[in-house]
Symmetry: C2
Subunit: 259 residues, 2 copies
Amino acid sequence: LPRILAVVNQKGGVGKTTTAINLGASLAASGRRVHLVDLDPQGNASTGLGSEAMTRDHSTYDLLLGDAALSEASRPTQIENLWLVPSTSDLSSADIDLMTNERRTHLLRNVLRAESVASLGADYVLIDCPPSLNILTLNAMVAADALVVPLQAEFFALEGLSQLMLTLREVRQSANPALRIEGVVLTMYDRRNNLSQQVEADARGTLGEMVFQTVIPRNVRLSEAPSHALSVLEYDPQSSGARAYKALAGELMAREARE
Amino acid sequence: LPRILAVVNQKGGVGKTTTAINLGASLAASGRRVHLVDLDPQGNASTGLGSEAMTRDHSTYDLLLGDAALSEASRPTQIENLWLVPSTSDLSSADIDLMTNERRTHLLRNVLRAESVASLGADYVLIDCPPSLNILTLNAMVAADALVVPLQAEFFALEGLSQLMLTLREVRQSANPALRIEGVVLTMYDRRNNLSQQVEADARGTLGEMVFQTVIPRNVRLSEAPSHALSVLEYDPQSSGARAYKALAGELMAREARE
Ligand SMILES: Nc1ncnc2c1ncn2[C@@H]1O[C@H](COP(=O)(O)OP(=O)(O)OP(=O)(O)O)[C@@H](O)[C@H]1O
Ligand SMILES: Nc1ncnc2c1ncn2[C@@H]1O[C@H](COP(=O)(O)OP(=O)(O)OP(=O)(O)O)[C@@H](O)[C@H]1O
Ligand SMILES: [Mg+2]
Ligand SMILES: [Mg+2]
């Protein structure tokens, strides 16, 4: 079965989607088979990988409703070894639509851990989450083996970390005791400014080894790439952003090898 | 009665809170009496203005439930002419808590347009919204006279604008026909990179006069200020960020004078 990683942080604009796309593309470039699940109704990961909103027949909403298996909903992207289950704006009403469903936090887990998934030969499932600790992010946290937490090197993002840790603990106590943190990755790091360094010192001080050694620098190539429906690895492979995400993938695979 | 402005954009991290705080502080510095309403369960505006989570007796949740009037919930900040109704994490369950309430999209409107508000002598109410078109943002859009839309000069943010415009139209057709756009303000603008310029050209091309002339530059002082519980005007009044928000306030007041 694939290793299921949820990319989570309820703070907006901290690099969840950029990490889901580029960590996914980096793992794929190393020969791993990666399925990216876009759980954000805003569908940035889908758009950033060139998935046109009109042509998406099966979506992550169908996964949640149990109307499609992963093998039916996941389709190839232009990146070798990278598949995508695209988002739909229907997801924005998920909290209310799923309210009366007793298993509403386990819907994605049921799909991603179904026996049929084994035949896909997938190595990783990466779930991109919206900026909210709502039913969608809860589904991702209940489904996942581990969390990848992008931490923007700025004040408001650091403040939000404790809320995320509380939610992690709740999910471990109620629904997914095996859930752990794969790692916290500092994003949009700007070496020239003091605030980045302070947030890094703070994060490493409180979270220690949980923080990846790899730091993702602020690099305009990362924000340009999705406008061409490319990962940064294809858009500008020599950029600091591309090299950082390749290093992150390497560090992540090394960590898992040690387990 | 005060002019009610909602700071909205469902995309995360585009500068809603930074705009709410610093536009609010700039209007206050010009002698306007401003009440900032923090409608985001993550409470960044509240934290950024030094409001301690423990000491918040009345919150925006009490406003929504009709348990407090604006005069009861709004308290002074360390900034002259700037008051705050702080957030609470209870807001995160608002979609579900308010589901059976027939007036659930009008709750904030009822409070902010109540007769008793006139006695406050407020010139502006600024509402900081979460990164979602959920019941909280809908309440803000139904309550508001106009929207201030921060538009981060990047691809994903530009993509999200059409979704916001659709929601604006729906709200105008169903609940608040007088709702208009005060203006779209380009944020985190980086003159050195092409993407900023392209997004600006795109925005001005499609939205014309709706886009403020004032552009908020990327300036680290804006991200440092909240860690000191200060607006950028107090933290570094000569910074490009402070000057830009003062210019934005001036442009906004000039626009309203012409109406
Ligand atoms: N390291 C980086 N350098 C420069 N720009 C970046 C970097 N990482 C992300 N960005 C850009 O910053 C913006 C926010 O990133 P992104 O959309 O990935 O965050 P997010 O957490 O997924 O946001 P949301 O909460 O809205 O889903 C995007 O425009 C993205 O292209
Ligand atoms: N012009 C700017 N220059 C530099 N940093 C900025 C600027 N504007 C905002 N920031 C920083 O960028 C981050 C995102 O901004 P902010 O929190 O205001 O966005 P938001 O839209 O309110 O996010 P959310 O969707 O999570 O509520 C914050 O850390 C903020 O301090
Ligand atoms: Mg995203
Ligand atoms: Mg905010």
